[in-house]
Each structure stands twice: as structure tokens, then as C-alpha cells.
Amino acid sequence: MPDYYQDSASEKIFQQRKNQETPPNPHIRDNNETVKIMGAVILALLPAVLFSGYLFGFKVYGLFLIGLATAFAADIGWSFLVKRPIRFDLSIVITALLLTMNLPPSAPWYFPVIGVAFAVIIVKEFFGGIGYNFLNPALGGRALLIGLFYNQMFLISWPDPPFGSISPDVVSQATANDVVSGATPLAVMKAGDTLSNQELWDAFLGFTGGRVGETSALLLLLGGIFLVWRKIISPRIPLIIFATIGVFAFILGPEGLFTGTWQHVIGHIISGGAMLGAIYMATDYASTPGTKAGENLFALGVGLLVVLFRFYGFTNEGMSYAILIMNCFTPLIDRFLRLRILGEGKPTPFNLKIMR
């Protein structure tokens, strides 16, 4: 190396940086970008998180806090174990929030502990951490909890605002005595009934039975619009999922083929975990395909699986498992369907290249 070069600014920077390890992707410009993206998602989720306490009582705030504490403990513990610097990229906050939003309001304190620890360590960090996990961590944690505590995970509480809830025991007694209906909108539709305008309105605002953070379609939708406006997510995946669910809600109507009413179509889109799943979990960068065509395929698959689970499944819901199943095929879709590199062969439709 020439002597004059050793004192140059570029050589000094190189000497400073050459021993640093390149962190895992996503590499945008700096780590601040990841933090900004995650921060925007947290901001979008916040109204639904806060409103969940109003609907189901202060206890759910406790569940959120336990989930967050577990996420930080799991991340710090794992970083210590593998001797890696701790990354405060806020992705674990989203995992904790989403998992808790998917819990029943009657969940005991150890549900978020088990679910979040599994999500952060096994589903995410085992596979290389942020950007490499093929499953949505929150949904992976939820799937484990359903496997371990199936009955408790499907208990439905009803909101009793402000800051109260009707426990699943009271709901089931009331249903048995036929005093008030304890059926969620999805259960009503699966039984072949049509939702009234009041029931639809309640479901849209969140005054219906369900899991902690999935009931208020309005707030979830507003958060989604905020994310689209900030260009954090593309509306394509949620819209394809909603369109698929809506079309099949019409086709598979209660009276036979093509007998669905607008109440069925809207009811299926705003009820259950459809909003939460389609807007916040099916748009996760790491566990969804990297090309637009791949995203379309992924979203169509999610929509069709939701229809399969809701109309022919064992329970009334299936959004989270539909996303999980398609997550499993995300790396495969990315492997076979990738963007043509500039100068690689002849131009192709949509600039796509199918690998053989």
C-alpha cells in the first residue's frame, strides 16, 4: 500500500470498520429504518390495544405488560446465550402485542409468558432472528398455546365496558338458558343465521365477543390505513384476502350456492381475526414473499384457507392458521418466483423469473 494512502480518510474508515460484523438483514440504510418501521406498526396497533382494556377490563393491560416483559427477557437472555449484542429494534414489542391481542381476555398470566418466549426464541431467533424467520412469531406462539391449552384458548369473553368483561362461564350459562346470545358473529353465520344491522355495527366497533385485540374492526382498519399512508405496508395483501373471503361468503351462502347476502360478506370480513390477521400479520416482511406476484399468491392462499376453515373447519375461525400455513410456503415461493436481474436473459412478463 502506498504511504500516502495510509493517512487517507477512506483508509481510516476502513480500518475502523473492518473488524465489525455485518448485521443480519433487512439492510435499508441503517438500523434506524427498522426501528421507524416497527415504531409505526406499534403506533397503528396502539388504539386497538388501549381500547381492548376499555372493552375487556384492566386485566388485559396486565397481559400486555407480561407479554412485553417476557419479550424483552427472552431477547436479552438469548442475546446473552449466543453472545450477541442486544438489538432494540422493537420487533419483539410487535410480537408481544400481536400475540397478546390473539389471546382470550380470560387468559391466565402464564399464557403470554409461554407464547411470547416460544415466539421470540424458537420461532424467530432459532432461525437467525429478524428477517430470517419463516413463520410469523406471534402466530407461532399462539399455535403452541392452542396445542397446549386448547379449551382455554377458545373461551369467549364478552365486553362489559367501561373496563369490565363478562367471563366465559357467565356467557355459557346465559347461552344455555337462552337469556342472551353468547354466539360470536362468526358462530351466528356458521349456524346459518344472518347478522342484524345492530350486530354488524357492534362487530365493526368492537362490542362483541372475541379475543383481546381482534374485536374492533374500526380501530384495526384505521391503523391499517395509517400504515398504508406511511407506506409501511401495501394494501394489496389485505385487499386480496378480504376480496377472497367476501366472494366465497357470497358463494357459500346459508341457503345454498350464491345465496350469501351483503351481511354475510361484510360479517365475514369484519369479524373474528380477519382484520387483525390480514392487515398486521399477513403483511409481516420476513414471513411473506418478496415479489408482488408471490404476495398475490400468498394472499389468495390465505383467503382460500380462511374460507376452508370457517365453512368446513372444526371451529368458526381460522385466520391465524391460514397465515401460518402460507408462511410455511413463503421461502418456497421466493425460491421459485423471483425478480429477473437486470440484464438476465430476455425481458419477462412482470419482470418475473421462474426458477427450475
Binding site: Y150, G313, F314, C328, P331
Partner: protein
């Protein structure tokens, strides 16, 4: 399916992926990539397994049993699997491009193992449903695992987890993810 049946399926899925991993394309040589090869091989094994299982069910249905059925049923299943594997390999297109001698041997081993480990255990009244589920599970999991392995290759995985441990964790996560399909086909989840 019992847990033992599933574990055999998982091991065969891992075997299918590992044998193809040995045939990664070399720079400058036109060879199929590992994922494509896994999908091709898994399709052959899955199809041969399904046909073998169906023929075994036909044999049971027609009561073509002999001798000590506890043993002879296994012999029958293994013979059917070997014959079907040979037949499928004879007619399948593109085998010169995708298969090697090693992969053909793997097919002749995998199909009888899958058949022996599962078909004699399926309940008679729901036999075809169980067979279709097992074949579908083998196929989908083998495809998906080959995709996940391509992603894991570029990730910073702790040494302790690299390879077989992570593949088993991956299959466990697949199993969790697909568990809701039990509700559609069998009206139970776990």
C-alpha cells in the same frame, strides 16, 4: 396417525431433503437446483406411496390374505411398494435430468418404509382419508422444508442448532401450523 407414524414421515421428509442436498449444482454446469430436485423426488415418492397404499387397501378389501396375517400383511405391503416404485420410476418423465442412481435407490427405500410404517396402522373405516392425509403431509412438508432450508443457509444460526436439530424444529412448526386442517378432515384438532 400415531406419533410413531408421524415420526417416520418426518424422517423420510428429512431423508428426501438430505439426499438432494448432496447434489447441489456446480458453477458452470447446467443442473437442477436442490429445491426443484426435492420437489421432483418427493412427488415420485409421494405418488408411489399413495398408489401402494391404495393397492394394499384393495388387497385387504378383497380379503386376499394368507398365512400369519400379522407378518404376511407387512410382506404384502412391502412387495406392493417395491413393484409400484419400479412402475412409477419406469413411466415418470424427466428422470434422466433429475434423478441419479443414488436418488433411485432412495426412492426404492423410502416408499416401502413409508408404506410399512403407516398403511398397516390406519383404521379400516377411514383408511383412504388417512392415506391421502399422510401422502399430502409428506409432499407438502417435503416441499416446504426444502424452501426453508434455502433461507436457513444464509442465516446466522447458532452452531448447536445447525442441520438436523433445526430441521426437526422446522417440521414441528409445520406440524403446529397445519394442525387446523385436522378439523376439516377429521373433526378434531389434536
Amino acid at each position: 396417525m400415531t406419533i410413531a407414524n408421524r415420526l417416520v414421515l418426518f424422517l423420510m421428509i428429512i431423508l428426501t431433503n438430505y439426499v438432494c442436498q448432496q447434489l447441489a449444482p456446480l458453477v458452470g454446469k447446467k443442473m437442477p437446483n436442490v429445491t426443484t430436485r426435492v420437489c421432483y423426488l418427493a412427488s415420485i415418492i409421494g405418488a408411489a406411496y399413495f398408489i401402494s397404499g391404495t393397492l394394499f387397501f384393495a388387497v385387504m378389501h378383497l380379503q386376499l390374505v394368507y398365512g400369519n396375517v400379522v407378518v404376511t400383511n407387512l410382506v404384502t405391503a412391502a412387495l406392493i411398494a417395491l413393484i409400484v416404485t419400479g412402475g412409477v420410476l419406469a413411466i415418470v418423465p424427466g428422470k434422466k435430468h433429475y434423478l441419479t442412481d443414488h436418488l433411485i435407490k432412495t426412492t426404492f427405500i423410502s416408499v416401502p418404509i413409508l408404506t410399512l410404517a403407516t398403511v398397516t396402522q390406519f383404521p379400516y373405516h377411514q383408511y383412504m382419508l388417512h392415506l391421502a392425509t399422510a401422502a399430502g403431509m409428506y409432499l407438502l412438508f417435503a416441499f416446504a422444508l426444502s424452501g426453508v432450508r434455502t433461507r436457513v443457509e444464509i442465516a446466522a444460526i447458532p452452531k448447536l442448532l445447525q442441520g438436523l436439530p433445526l430441521d426437526i424444529v422446522t417440521l414441528f412448526l409445520f406440524y403446529l401450523s397445519f394442525s387446523f386442517l385436522n378439523g376439516v378432515f377429521f373433526n378434531y384438532l389434536f
